[in-house]
Symmetry: C2
Subunit: 371 residues, 2 copies
């Protein structure tokens, strides 16, 4: 194998690939990144069996070939190279990979490419196409609501639901639920749903950090899902199990509708929540009354906090308590300058809606308090 | 106690004070910050018995008084306040401290101010004055060389040596030594030396983050030292013991003098050092010969790296090996575009000098290698 390529492109690809390398590899080969030079293209692969990524960058390939080298060292070495031109050569006899740039020469010990569990692309599958902007918005507004409790695996991922040209994503940790919706461009199947691990969705966000929208081809089987653009192929195992019917958690009617300034309410809840943070349920109490909301918290070993924020209240006065973190999380992803909070009473689930994204909804269960 | 003050000033002072609050306080009162409002001034104190800090900020004091409140919560609450005007009031009956700003009201439980181990200022002492710029430069160029090995306490601090109008600071971990020198403005005593804990010197750097030089009054007894400016009083216990005579570690003559570009050599050593990092001594080998230095490292489980950098060599060729981190640390604090490396042979200590700071010297012991 012999090729040259640009440091910036190689470095970016290796950085992305190394995030899919297992933190605690079960066998040495799993600590590696697989490199394959062929047809003026360098392919990189990394996987930890749960998720996997394939990347391509342009390369001037003089001699085709493949090799596996330590992901950690490859990342550190490539990032630090002095010049934009990088020359890479693998010596099959000594099993050594040479990386040169400017006056710098590195040699890295290699592992046997034949031992590497190459990622198999999903072939027979249901598939659809979606804009990366739509997918990123779906992920950003839902995955934060996932659970990290591995004893209930379905809640550690997001439900992805397809129906004609609609794509919906829902995530919950039982106490709260976030649902977001978008449009897909091309859908080969009618109705289907999948539970996608939070980790791969976050990885997708990371790889797609550019603001420029791209078309993403999504392929799914019952056990796997892949996301593909011109530059990368990201694949994951799906979570088995049945995601509860989230629609039943969304109340149909509300007795009170409140409109508030997002930034003001977020700042006030964050401040008042400081005092509650070390208490059991991180509880802030809200009293909606007379055109304002009174926000308070009380921690017997720290002190108290209270603040009022103007609120446009339509309906019954409400006294309700929430986990401050559950409010803060959703207020951070609201785009609109103002947002809506819908409530019934102090015991029934409330809803948050973003005035600038009507098909997003967030359901939050109140905390029961003594008074 | 009742006063009002500016959020920005209070927040900065509380943030500094909270760094001197014990991480694991032995008694609850030690988790607190002491506040004392008197004469249009708010005084803050924090100490963990090893170091202590007193700060003053302007305040409109309506009623004098003192109180101790949780450092952690005070810091978080003050930082988050919505408006620049902050009102603080202590109710002696309920023992509650009220903090208000805009529409935000906090109450914090308090501790008994009488229980607080107030910091006693050093009175009978030797003392001198020095510009903060001089002191900061002394600290920046030496404390990185300290040891963190608590079994040899003298090396966990820097030696501060006074002689007439000179101030010298020296720090070592046995394998390397950094010595820097400056001028003091006013010295009441002739010759003296102290071992100052690294932690307080770093704290001084942190507090004096402004680029504007100020006069610092330093007071010393055999067991304590304090640094005082208009705004703060920082005090510390000194380290007991005898710092070895560092002058004996500085060779008088060198067979080889090399001048190199600081940034180029630093970048090359950093790169080549990557491969050595996980090996026992983090060793990079240097060969000075024919107008360049060949830098290499070799790690049997990772691979190799090598690079050459132009070097203006005056004297014998040298083959020598160093701990890469010990080179990188000093190259980061060299100001000059070029620096000097002085050597004798592969076993004798070498010296690094900064062309823009003649009275700084860094001694580094080579690593013995097999070939």
């Amino acid at each position: 194998m012999k090729f040259s390529c640009l440091k910036s492109e190689l470095s970016q690809a290796v950085q992305i690939a190394s995030r899919s390398v297992a933190n605690k590899p079960q066998t040495p080969i799993m600590s590696g990144i697989y490199l394959h030079a062929v047809d003026n293209m360098l392919e990189l692969q990394a996987t930890d069996y749960e998720i996997g990524v394939i990347l391509h960058i342009p390369a001037e390939v003089e001699k085709n070939g493949e090799v596996v080298v330590s992901g950690r060292y490859l990342q550190e070495v490539v990032r630090t190279l002095p010049e934009e031109e990088v020359k890479v050569e693998y010596d099959h006899d000594t099993k050594i990979l040479k990386i040169s740039s400017g006056r710098s020469n590195f040699t890295l010990l290699s592992m046997n490419a034949a031992d590497y569990p190459q990622i198999t692309r999903i072939k027979e599958s249901k598939h659809f196409k979606v804009s990366s902007a739509v997918l990123k918005d779906l992920i950003r507004r839902t995955t934060f609501a996932c659970s990290s409790d591995e004893t209930r695996p379905v809640f550690t991922g997001a439900l992805l639901e397809l129906e004609n040209d609609s794509i919906r994503m829902a995530a919950s940790n039982v106490h709260r639920l976030a649902v977001n919706e978008g449009k897909i461009e091309e859908n080969a199947e009618e109705k289907n749903n999948y539970i996608v691990p939070k980790r791969v969705l976050e990885e997708f966000q990371h790889i797609m950090s550019s603001e420029v929208p791209e078309e993403v081809a999504v392929s799914c089987t019952r056990s796997e899902m892949s996301f593909e653009t011109e530059k990368f192929y990201l694949t994951t195992r799906l979570i088995e199990g049945q995601f509860p019917d989230y629609r039943r958690a969304i109340p149909e009617q509300f007795a009170t509708r409140v409109q508030m300034k997002t930034a003001d309410f977020l700042a006030a809840v964050s401040r008042v929540g400081l005092i509650a943070r070390s208490s059991e349920y991180n509880t802030v109490k809200l009293i909606f009354n007379m055109g304002e909301v009174h926000i308070s918290s009380d921690n017997p070993i720290v002190g108290k906090a209270e603040e009022t924020v103007p609120a446009d209240i339509d309906g019954e006065d409400v006294k309700i308590a929430f986990n401050a973190a559950y409010l803060i999380d959703v207020l951070k992803i609201v785009n609109g300058e103002e947002f809506m909070l819908f409530m019934n009473d102090s015991l029934k689930p409330a809803a948050v809606r973003d005035l600038e994204k009507q098909d997003f909804v967030y359901i939050i269960t109140p905390v029961r308090t003594k008074n």
